[in-house]
Amino acid sequence: MAARLLTAARRLDIDTQPELNESREPVLDADDEEELRSKCADVELVMGDDLSGGPGVLHLTTRRVVWVSSSPGGPCLALRYPQIVMHAISSDPSAYARPCLYLQLDEGDGDVIMGGMAGGGAAAGANGDAGAGGEDEEEEGEGEEEEGSAEVRLVPTDATQVGDLFKVLCDCAALNPDSEVEGEGDFFFDEAEVMAGLDPSTRAAVIAERLEGGMDLGEGEDGGEDLQELMGDDPGRFEDEDDEEGGEGEEEEGEEGAGQAS
């Protein structure tokens, strides 16, 4: 059971080897201003439906949720707050025999898959430009469908503890916002939306400004003339080297030259 529990925990990126002192209490990271907020003995940890770690001691610190098995050498798990998507009090005996804290954890898959897709898209684009095949597509579509396994229940023997533990969890979770500042920067406003929001005179001004800017850009970036100028004293300047495979078509070469010149 312990081995399965640890495997499941590692899959969810849970720290299964937090540092403990001789009395099997988690060593707090003073550098990270970690403080113990609550300690509760006789708490059973259950992952998923039935993966029980047996009785243990629950420590709620300002940085982590650390559960340490009561049996010597038993498993211990440390969760960081950003991993905890949500937590709740579960108190309906028809769903689970005893009142407990219910935690849903970040499965991490979502982000990984998103990252993979983005990477794949970029790679495809690059390959398209190069006109080359041979892209090694990493099929990451396995998407382990073990839904619900990212759930952890913390079941105190003393059911009256649940409310207090929940409160401490809320407080500590609020102390640990995600380091990456999300929010304002993530909101992209459609250009049309922004324009629609402006009053007519401002909008006209913005459009006029933009047109002017566009014309400036047009004048400044006259690649053809620049190219002529650069080639003036050395007509062979942008020719292919003899030993290159070449044959890419002159237009492309010209564009490249202009790009470098400007």
Binding site: Y81, V85, M86, I89, S91, G110, A173, A174, G197
Partner: protein, 93 residues
């Protein structure tokens, strides 16, 4: 901070929070903080078959960074005022 202010006006109202893991929870908005962490009471889960253990949950704390959408109660939001406020915010006001 616009949305933080908005949500504060909705405390006590019924909202539905959709998480990035597709979990969808309705409940009364108990509180919200600056990170848009959300506490709900009297909750109800929409996709119970996927999260059967959630059936026994009546109040919860949701991490702000995992929220995808918050469905607002139409009657509690003045759309015109909100629209204006978002425009101002978009303009960097």
């Amino acid at each position: 901070m616009l949305f933080f202010s908005l949500f504060k006006t909705l405390v006590g109202k019924e909202v539905t929070v959709e998480l990035k893991n597709d979990l969808c929870i309705s409940g009364a908005l108990h509180s919200v903080d600056q990170y848009l962490n959300i506490k709900l009471t009297n909750t109800r889960v929409h996709n119970e078959q996927k999260y059967p253990h959630m059936m026994s949950v009546r109040n919860c704390f949701i991490r702000g960074s995992v929220v995808r959408y918050v469905h607002l109660p139409p009657g509690a939001v003045d759309v015109e005022v909100l629209h204006d406020a978002t425009r101002r915010e978009a303009r960097g006001g």
